[in-house]
C-alpha cells in the first residue's frame, strides 16, 4: 500500500527535473552527506528575508528561495509557489493544502539519500512510518479494547489446578512462563510448527503462553501438557509426586527435540569454532562448561567444553567435618574449585603419554541466558549410611532419601564473572555477567516423594508473586530471598550480541 500525496504534488512530480531538484536539495540540506555540500549548506541556510537561521528553515522547491517558517509561507503566497521542503526533517509542504504531505515516492527518494549519508543523524531515522498489512489493519479494527499494564494488573498470572500431585509440574510451568526471553519468543509467535498438531510440546507451550497472557484469571488445568510429557518422558508417567528438577530437565529435553523435529528450517548457529544448537531452548538455557584437567607431572592441560543446562550444587560438607556451604556463592566456588582426582583415578595424559595423577577444574566457558541452579537438597541414603557407619552411629530415619534443609542464602543480583574461564584471547573490555533472580521453586516436606512444591515468580520487573497451585498471592522480595530455595532461576541482566 502506498501513500499518495495531494494533487498539487502529483502535478509537481510529473516533471523529472522537479524530482531531481528535490533529491538534490534533500541530499545537500537535510542529509548533508559530503563536505562539498556542507559548504553549500552553510552559505545558504539562512532566511532570505530576516537573515536568521530559522526556526523551521524551509526551501522553496520552485525557485531559489530559503525562508524561515514565517517568511516561506509569505513567499509561497505572494509567488504562488506551492511546494516547499522543511530542512530539518525533509518533509514536503504544500501551500495550497496548507499542510505537510506524505508520498511514498518522495519517501523512497529521501530514504535513498539517508542511506547514502556518511554520518548517521538520529533525528532522520526517528520518524519512520509503519505500514500495517491488511491483516494487521483488520485485527486492529476488531480489537479496540486497550490493555494497560499497571503494577496492579494481573496479566501474565494464572493459577494452575493440581491434578493430583502435579505441583511439581505447576511450579516449573510458572517458572517457564515468567522467563522473559522465552515469553518474548512465544508471544511473537516465532514457533512455526511443521509437525503433527497435538503432538508437539512446543506448540503446547506456545498455547500456554497465549492462555497466560490473555488477561483471563480462571485457573488452568494442564492435562494436555501432562499427557504430552507422559508420552515423551516415560519415567515421569504416573500419579506419584515427582522431582521438580527432574521434570524441568525432561521438559527442556523434550522441547529441544520437538523444536528440531518440527522446525526443519533451523540452521546451526556458529559461534567461534563451536556450532550451537539453533533451537530456542538451547539458545536460552545452554551454556558451555569448560573442564581443565591438569597433569601433575608435566602440568599439561587438556581442555574440554561440554554443554550444560543445569547446575546441580552439592550442599553437604566438603570433607567430613568441613564447613558446609551457606550461600549460593559458596556453592559455586566449590563447584569451580580445582579438585584433586586422587591415586585411584589416574588419567591418561596426552602430553607425557602415561597415566598420571591430575587435578580437574570446572569453569564457565560461555554463560547461558538463563541459569538454573539446582540445590541438591535430597541426599541418597546409602551415602549417608557409609558416612554414619564411620562415626559408629545408627540411623534414625528409615526413609530412602534425606533432605538437607540448611539455609543457603542467594542474592537477587548474581555476578558470574569469578566463575568464568580465563583465556588469553579475552577482550580488554570487561563483560557484564550479572544475573538477576526471576523465579524460585521451594519444596516443603521431608522427602523427595512427599511434600509440596511452590514457586515464587517475578513479574513486571519488581513485583513478586507466590504461586501455590491455583492460589496466587503477592510476595515481597525479602520473603523470596528468605525462602529455602530448591531451584533458583537467574536471567542475564544485559544481553550481548552474538
Amino acid at each position: 500500500m502506498s501513500i499518495v500525496g495531494c494533487q498539487h504534488l502529483q502535478s509537481y512530480k510529473k516533471t523529472s527535473k522537479n524530482k531531481n531538484t528535490f533529491k538534490w536539495i534533500h541530499a545537500v540540506f537535510v542529509v548533508n552527506s559530503t563536505s562539498k555540500s556542507l559548504k553549500t549548506k552553510l552559505c545558504n541556510s539562512r532566511c532570505r528575508v530576516c537573515k536568521k537561521r530559522g526556526p523551521f528553515l524551509h526551501a522553496c522547491l520552485e525557485c531559489v528561495f530559503f525562508g524561515c517558517h514565517k517568511h516561506i509561507r509569505e513567499h509561497a503566497k505572494s509567488q504562488k509557489h506551492s511546494m516547499s521542503m522543511d530542512l530539518t526533517y525533509g518533509q514536503m509542504h504544500c501551500n495550497q493544502c496548507h499542510d505537510y504531505i506524505y508520498d511514498s515516492e518522495i519517501d523512497a527518494i529521501a530514504n535513498d539519500n539517508k542511506m547514502k549519508s556518511k554520518t548517521c543523524k538520529k533525528r532522520l531515522f526517528e520518524i519512520d512510518t509503519w505500514n500495517p498489512t491488511s491483516d494487521e489493519r483488520d485485527y486492529l479494527r476488531s480489537k479496540t479494547k486497550k490493555i494497560c499494564i499497571t503494577p496492579d494488573s494481573t496479566i501474565g498470572l494464572r493459577g494452575l489446578l493440581n491434578l493430583g500431585q502435579t505441583c511439581f509440574m505447576n511450579c516449573i510451568v510458572q517458572a517457564l512462563m515468567h522467563t522473559p526471553l522465552l515469553r518474548d519468543y512465544f508471544l511473537t509467535e516465532e514457533h512455526n510448527c511443521k509437525g503433527m498438531s497435538g503432538r508437539c510440546l512446543v506448540c503446547e507451550v506456545s498455547k500456554l503462553f497465549q492462555e497466560f497472557y490473555n488477561g483471563t484469571r480462571v485457573p488452568l488445568a494442564l492435562h494436555e501438557l501432562l499427557h504430552l510429557i507422559w508420552t515423551h518422558a516415560r519415567h515421569l508417567a504416573g500419579y506419584e509426586q515427582q522431582d521438580a528438577h527432574e521434570f524441568f530437565i525432561a521438559t527442556l529435553d523434550v522441547l529441544h527435540q520437538h523444536c528440531l523435529e518440527t522446525m526443519p528450517d533451523l540452521k546451526p548457529v556458529n559461534v567461534g569454532k563451536n556450532s550451537r544448537c539453533p533451537c530456542i531452548i538451547d539458545q536460552i538455557f545452554t551454556g558451555g562448561l569448560q573442564s581443565d584437567v591438569v597433569c601433575q607431572k608435566c602440568n599439561g592441560v587438556s581442555t574440554t567444553i561440554d554443554p550444560i543446562s543445569d547446575f546441580s550444587l552439592d550442599l553437604g560438607p566438603v570433607t567430613v567435618g568441613g564447613r558446609p556451604p551457606t550461600s549460593l556463592v559458596d556453592c559455586l566456588e566449590r563447584f569451580t574449585r580445582a579438585e584433586h582426582l586422587g591415586e585411584n583415578s589416574k588419567i591418561m595424559c596426552s602430553n607425557c603419554q602415561s597415566k598420571q595423577e591430575s587435578t580437574k577444574q570446572l569453569t564457565m566457558n560461555t554463560l547461558p541466558i538463563v541459569i538454573s541452579f539446582h540445590l541438591k537438597r535430597f541426599q541418597h541414603m546409602n551415602e549417608v549410611k557409609t558416612h554414619t557407619k564411620s562415626k559408629q552411629k545408627s540411623l534414625i530415619s528409615s526413609q530412602m532419601e534425606k533432605k538437607i534443609s540448611t539455609t543457603i542464602s542467594f542474592p537477587e543480583m548474581l555476578d558470574m564473572t569469578p566463575f568464568m574461564s580465563r583465556s588469553k584471547t579475552d577482550s580488554p573490555f570487561p563483560s557484564d555477567n550479572r544475573y538477576s533472580l526471576f523465579a524460585v521453586i521451594n519444596h516443603i516436606g521431608n522427602s523427595i516423594n512427599v511434600g509440596h512444591y511452590t514457586a515464587y515468580v517475578r513479574q513486571l520487573q519488581d513485583y513478586w508473586y507466590k504461586c501455590d497451585d491455583h492460589v496466587i498471592t503477592r510476595a515481597t522480595l525479602k520473603e523470596v530471598l528468605d525462602s529455602e530455595g530448591y531451584l533458583l532461576f537467574y536471567h542475564k541482566h544485559v544481553l550481548d550480541y552474538d
Partner: protein, 100 residues
C-alpha cells in the same frame, strides 16, 4: 563592528560543527528530561480537543510553541548557556577568520 562579529561567530559555529553539536546536545537533553513526551502529549491534546477540524502542522506549531517554550527546564537552559559561552570564549583562540 557587530555585523562583522556576527559573521565571524556564524562562521565559527559552522566550520567546527559547533551549532550541530549544540543542537544535538539540546535535543538529547530535552528527550532525557521528558520534555519531548510532554510536548507530544500537548500536541495530542490540541488535536483531540478540536473535534470539528483537525489542525494543520502550522496551526499546531502556533498553539503549542508558547507552551512548549515555557516547559523547557531551567537546567537545560543553563547547560545550553554554558555551552554557548564556552564556544564564544574559544572563538578567538581558534581564529577561523578565513572566508569562502
Amino acid at each position: 563592528m557587530s555585523q562583522e562579529y556576527d559573521a565571524k561567530i556564524n562562521l565559527h559555529l559552522d566550520i567546527n560543527h559547533g551549532l550541530d553539536r549544540v543542537t544535538e546536545l539540546v535535543q538529547t537533553r530535552l528527550i532525557e528530561c521528558g520534555w519531548r513526551d510532554q510536548v507530544r502529549l500537548a500536541c495530542r491534546k490540541a488535536i483531540t480537543e478540536n473535534e470539528k477540524h483537525i489542525p494543520t502542522v502550522d496551526e499546531l506549531i502556533a498553539t503549542v510553541t508558547p507552551k512548549a517554550r515555557s516547559m523547557v527546564p531551567d537546567s537545560v537552559k543553563r547547560e545550553l548557556l554554558h555551552e554557548l559561552e564556552s564556544i564564544l570564549i574559544n572563538v578567538d583562540k581558534f581564529g577561523y577568520s578565513k572566508s569562502f
